[in-house]
Structure formats: C-alpha cells, structure tokens
C-alpha cells in the first residue's frame, strides 16, 4: 500500500536536517534505534521513510512516508503515528498530511456534509447563520427562551455554548428537550426550520445517553469538541448520531499542528459535517491566510469524502457579515454569539438583522 505522506517543519540547521529527519522517521514508527531492528520486513515496510528534506530558512521541511499498517484506519492511532511522540519535541510541527486514496476510503468522513446541513436547515444556495445559547449557569427556562428568540429571528442553527455540559443547573436531559420544544414552537409560528445543535460531552456512556435523549426529542444536529472528548469518541458520535455533527475547536490549539490540517482536514476525515474555527480579527490569533486555508481544506475535493462546512466564529459581529461572505463565499455558516447577546432587550431585532443580512 502507498504511504501516508506527513509533512513536518523542524527547527534545526541544514547540516543537522538529514539526521533529524531520520530520527523523526524512527520516532514516529518503530521508536527504537535502527540498528536494533533485525527483521528485514520491518525495516522495509514498517519503518517510516524520509521522502524529502527541504531547507526553509532557519528550519526545514521533511516529508515522512508512514506505513498505513501502523496507523490502522482508526483516528487515535493515526494521530499517534502522525504526532504522538514528536508532540513532545518542541522543535517539530506537523504541517500537512496526504493519505493514499485506499486508506482515506477506510474512514467515512462526514455523513451529511454541507449538502446535508443545508437540507436539515432548509437553507439552499446561500450562507447559513448560527448562534449560541449562553451563558452557562443560565436555567433551562432562560436557555429555552433564548432559543425561541433566535428561532423566531430565523437563525438557521442554534448551538449550545461549548461550555454547556451536564451541569446540575441545566442538565442535558432537561435542557435539550426544553430547548428543542421552544425551537419547534417557534418554527411552527414562523414556518421556518431552525435546527438545534446541543453540546455532547463526557465519556462514551454519557455520549450514548445524550444521543438517545436527543433522538427522542427530535434534535437534528449535534456539537462536540473532538480534542476534549477524544477523537475515537468523536468518530463514534458521528457514526451513531442521526444528523450532522459540528466540531468545536476547544482544546485543539496546541499550536504545533497546523490549524488547517487539524480543524480542516483531520476533523473532516473523522466525520465532522461542520468545523468551527476562530476567525481572524476576533478574540483569537489566527491570521486571514490560516482561516482561508481551514475553509479551503474543509471544502476542497478530497478523495470520496463529503465537504465539511466551515464556521468562522470567535468574536464576530453583524458588521463583518458582508466581509465574511465576500471572503468565504456561500458555502459557509457564520457564527455570532456574544455579538448578538450584547443587544440584550433588542436581541430579537439584532438576530433578525443577522439572519436577513446573510440571506441577502
């Protein structure tokens, strides 16, 4: 089978680069000195290969060929072989990964993708809108009232704040049916089709219980943070939940895996139908190039995997809607959370203005 091609950037001088690249190839495969590897098949087929080394200023870029047999088609083992041990080496960044088609085909990727989210939210041929229920600490009634307002305003997707888990004040089992009911009522009143994406969190037993509750009350979408619940649990959630799943970037900012690779390509591989990322010019530090690259790898043709909907967020405002649509086009969902809530008693009007601005 063809190799997985993983591109790393290593801070080291050119004279050291070949030795450093070869050490990395061992670290990310057999994790032992080559002279101690006696089996010829292991040397030829299992040890990662150094495919290229290219100087790049004070660093160099190395492409390793990683044997798919070491990674299985399993998300956490893929991360292990791509960036497990070398995550502990501060001079190494993981920049990009290319998968053989036969290997990529062993992951499902998004079940629904952009088209599935459009169908769920009844939003064809235009950018979508998203907002968040917050703050945590609010009662179930407060969150449901907020959701009703957003749905009356015509927002496409209302998600839970990523901090909403199973807190005693608004536990999942009470919050989610109440919010879904409020949204259903508003949809009936407006003829709209706002969808709710509650936050799924915790261990696999909790996730399964949450999926049952969500299914029973007609929830159509879900939100989870792959790096918090763990990528195997995220993959399982995408398989088991009967609707589009949005990935949240919480805890994903190690800074040494390129954001387009992690939030775009890998989350897509693992099944994310939408990927939220901190847009430039907000509360986070990603620059415009990084954000555009995230959107690009999420949506570009890639093996047989459906495209993932990019969701720029993180301190966005109504004023930036035209610019964001100009930047990202119509295959995007704009997420404004706090920027709506600061309207307070004028929340319905500002939310409606957001929905209208994006629809136009």
């Amino acid at each position: 089978m063809q190799r997985i091609l993983a591109t790393y950037r290593i801070t080291a001088s050119e004279s050291e680069s070949r030795a450093r690249a070869e050490a990395l190839a061992l670290e990310q495969s057999v994790e032992m000195p080559l002279e101690a590897v006696t089996d010829q098949r292991v040397r030829a087929e299992v040890v990662a290969s150094v495919e290229s080394v290219r100087a790049d200023g004070t660093a160099f870029e190395v492409i390793l060929g990683i044997a798919p047999e070491t990674t299985l088609p399993e998300a956490s083992q893929l991360l292990n072989m791509l960036f497990g041990n070398c995550s502990l080496q501060p001079d190494v960044e993981l920049v990009d990964v290319e998968l053989p088609a036969s290997y990529a085909a062993r992951f499902h990727g998004p079940r629904h993708g952009i088209a599935g989210i459009r169908t769920a939210a009844g939003a064809e041929g235009r950018a979508l809108t998203c907002t968040a229920l917050k703050p945590q600490g609010s009662s179930v009634e407060q969150l449901a009232a907020l959701a009703r307002t957003f749905a009356l305003a015509g927002i496409d997707v209302v998600k839970d704040d990523h901090g909403l888990a199973d807190q005693p004040g608004a536990p999942f089992a009470k919050r989610v049916p109440a919010v879904q009911r409020a949204i259903d009522e508003a949809n009936r009143a407006t003829g709209g089709s706002t969808r709710y994406a509650p936050t799924f969190s915790g261990g696999m037993d909790a996730l399964d219980a949450q999926a049952r509750i969500a299914r029973e009350c007609g929830v159509a979408m879900a939100l989870a943070a792959p790096m918090l619940i763990g990528v195997p649990a995220f993959v399982a959630l995408c398989e088991r939940f009967n609707g589009p799943v949005m990935a949240h970037p919480a805890f994903a900012g190690s800074g040494r895996i390129a954001p387009p690779l992690l939030l775009g390509r890998l989350f897509r591989l693992f099944g994310a139908d939408a990927t939220i990322f901190p847009n430039h010019g907000g509360r986070f530090a990603y620059d415009r190039t990084t954000c555009e690259a995230i959107a690009e790898v999420a949506r570009e043709p890639w093996h047989a995997l459906k495209p993932t909907l990019p969701v720029p967020a993180g301190g966005m405002t109504l004023e930036r809607v035209p610019e964001m649509i100009a930047d990202y086009g119509s295959d995007v969902m704009l997420l404004i959370g706090g920027g709506l809530l600061t309207a307070r008693e004028r929340l319905l009007e500002r939310s409606r203005a957001f929905a209208v601005a994006v629809r136009q």
Copy 2:
C-alpha cells in the same frame, strides 16, 4: 464551594495585563461579554474571577478562580474550562491548578498507586524496572519471545510499545494472550513476578473488548495514552480495568500546558497509577527541573489521592541507572526500551544487568 485556582502565564505587557486577565476569565467561563450577562447569580457565581495578576518579566501570571459547577467532576469538562478556548490563544500557557478538597474528592485518582504497582510486581522498597516490546511490525511470536527474555531477566514490568495497537500483524486478541503466556512461563521458571502492560487503544468499544481479553488471560497492568484515546476514555479504563494503569505521554506535548501539571497532576487526578515522561538528556527536550517537578507532583501528598509512580523514559541507557536513582529515589520505575534492544543477541544479559543494577 471554593473555586478551582488555575494559574496561567500570559505574554503581554503589564499595562495590558488586567484587561487580558479579565478577558481570559470570561473566555474560560461564560464565553461572552460581561455586559451581556444579565443574570446576577451567573455574574457572581459562574463567571471566573481574577484572583491575582502578577508581572513576571515580559509576561504576567494570572490566577483565575473557576467555579467547580462549570466543570462537573468530569475530566474532559475540567480540561474544557481550564484550557478549552484559550488553547487557541498562543499567548496563554496553563501553568498549574489547585483544586478544592471537596472537588478533588469527586475524582477517584489512582486506584492502585505506587503501593499497588509494588504489590503487583512483588517489588518492595526499591526502584522498579520497565521495558517495552517493539518494534511494531513484529509478529506475535517475536513479541512473545522478547517478553520471555525480559521476564527471564527479571524486569518488573514489560509494556507494549505505545505504537502497538490492533494491527493485523499482531492484533491485540492474539498478541496479548501469547505475551502473557510467555511471561507466565518465564515467571514459573524463575520464581519471579514480571508483569505485562499491553497498550490499550481506540474507542470505548475497543477498550472494553481489550479489557475483557486482558482479564481472561490474567494481564495485571495496562498502558494507554490519555491524550490519544481521550481523557474520558482513560478515566473509564482506569475504572474498569482490574489493575494498575500506566499513562503514556504520546500527543500530550502541546507545550502550552506545563508538563508537571498535565503528566503529573492531571493524569494522576484522572486515575493514572504510573506516568511515563521523557527524561532529560534523552531524545526529548524536557529539562531536569521539569522532570523533577513531574515526579514531585505525581508523588507528593495531594488531597486523598494515591501517589502516581513516575516513569522516566525516552532514550535512557543502563549507564544512567545510578544517576536516575540518585535523582528520583526509590519510588520510581526506570524504563529502558531501545537501550536494551540494541544489545541484540546479548539482550538477556543486558536486561539482566538492568534488573540487577536497579535492585542493588
């Protein structure tokens, strides 16, 4: 309830520090502008508090008081509130965390701890030895033969390489019984009590299946990488597996959570009976101070949690045994992997020399 005290280091000028600290407090709790938080209880009890701000060269240290009600007693939600969104802000490091006693008591921590590992391995009053089965790509027979040699040599714990998962060449269901059988036979021959710690990997269904297989063939210990399988799955594994669980640091090197906090304190909180870390002077970059701090927080008295056994590793050699024991004392397990395997046909002798050197 008392607050969780989380210490961050933020790269910013002193003049910005107060505003930056307050922004961080919002980011890590309600994630919205304070003026939009209308509920007085939320303002008083849920919004994180800025407990102190202290200038420190070109950075400053801020201590936030995080409300335990936001984090639940659940591992991934604790990480979410400690470092979820701000992991995406490259100027923020998470340095340390102190938990209220009542909150710490809601986590079990290590079930077995150092004393439990000593009992399992029959190793009282001295440092322990550990080595690894590798390389991946080896057949079940090759790995079992290696395990037999290590057990005959008197190594206390033989673990799988962290890259061994469920690869078709040596799948868990065949590898683990065969290796355990080889070790059992060697133990009978020597009267020793070498223990085997296979690598548990993948999603929760896979972990449960692996625990069943391990139980059936008498495996006494386990190894898993919390940041790869996800911390909720690691917690569940520690609860369900009937023996000490070792934490592997793969994928844990984001560099912006202080290693003593993540590998020492938090892995201990989540249930690790032993924690492997890259020792200074090997293939990784942690310095001596960092390594000693990991060992210290793993073992120091901390609420009612049992101590976690520190396992320095990552390119260690036989020659460094006296120095490591002088550094870490006897409550330590020394892990040498590749440094034994390079002996090739003299593997038994070198492994025996390792076991003897540590016992003395």
